[in-house]
Subunit: 180 residues, 2 copies
DNA sequence: CTTACCATGTAAGGCGTTACATGATTCA
DNA sequence: TGAATCATGTAACGCCTTACATGGTAAG
């Protein structure tokens, strides 16, 4: 109990797969989770300290490649907490799409400006989709001893389905805007 | 300049269409913008005070239906600020999908639990889609004297395209999870 | 040798929600 | 008469990002 902070849950979730350093956690958020969740070092490191203090994770200092690393491992208490959180229904799925906001008020700026926003959005999506396809391919072909792949694949498929929808909408939006 | 707060931009955007009260602004966020943006009274009312103080909006006190209302109107300065913001490329489109998070770590809870998360998500989406279809129908048939409808329609179409993608993914995810 | 990446953290401050506080009106 | 909706605001607090601060290693 106590925390209920999402950042704690994400970190515990990642640690439930394998022990990780703060840096590695950040990397995973920037790759595997980037299209539905993200966090900065400024929230990750303090959260790791809290989790350790509360007994949800343990810290191991060790040297690797000459560098001093702090690796965190989930405890049984941490695992129990994670599972309790997983049992609860998701409270909130939110998005803040600035692009959509700018389009909503687009008549103030005109169709050429709106088109630029759509194009920028399209470019971003196009840039990220190949990564998702690669994830999908890798997950479908690789071995999966601990059964995590199927769940990971689920989220990748979500990314692909929505990103493809974004692209269809971009094409449609561009047509509509050119007619204004 | 100064602020750069998104909440200010959303409010100015809404005021650029018509004068509104804080309460009405909140209502619009809960209906027209809910699938890509939202805000609480605790951020709306202070923002309105700030905007007024900075000369981006003016406030009119008046009684209507026995109630004392504060109606806000955008100023020329406010309009200029809004337009300057609209010219800038969108900086950030973010989502925090707790449902996806719970699925990503789903192996900790098992497929039945994951299924419940997918079903809950599906139900929420199914509940909100009809509203979007209605918006679309209304926008396509109604008169549009000030040219705002086309832009509004753009965002509604975005909502529909993505929500339909969500539903396809839900069906797919349910099949995958039943096979585990 | 210098750029990119690995690696860990802190401090200040921004942004926003939740809960509180209040009260009128409308409709069943 | 009670519930829902209209209507406006404040205070406390939580969460998170940005910027700062530091330094080692690997690769070109």
């Amino acid at each position: 109990m106590a925390s209920e902070k999402k950042i704690d849950c994400v970190i515990l979730g990642l640690l439930s797969h394998e022990p990780l350093t703060g840096y590695e956690i950040k990397k995973r958020m920037d790759t595997a989770l980037y299209y539905f969740w993200n966090a900065s070092y400024g929230s990750i490191y303090p959260a790791l300290a809290d989790l350790t203090e509360q007994g949800f994770a343990t810290r191991q200092s060790h040297c690797s490649g000459g560098r001093n690393k702090q690796t965190y491992t989930i405890t049984e208490t941490g695992r129990a907490y994670l599972q309790q959180w997983l049992r609860q229904p998701a409270q909130r799925d939110e998005q803040r799409l600035e692009t959509l906001l700018k389009l909503f008020f687009g008549n103030q700026g005109g169709s050429a400006q709106a088109l630029r926003h759509v194009e920028a959005f399209e470019e971003k999506v196009r840039g990220e989709l190949p990564q998702l396809y690669e994830f999908q391919k890798a997950l479908e072909s690789a071995q999966d001893p601990d059964g995590t792949h199927a769940y990971y694949l689920l989220t990748v498929k979500f990314g692909i389905e929505t990103y493809e929808a974004y692209l269809r909408w971009c094409a449609d939006a561009q047509k509509l805007l050119e007619d204004i």
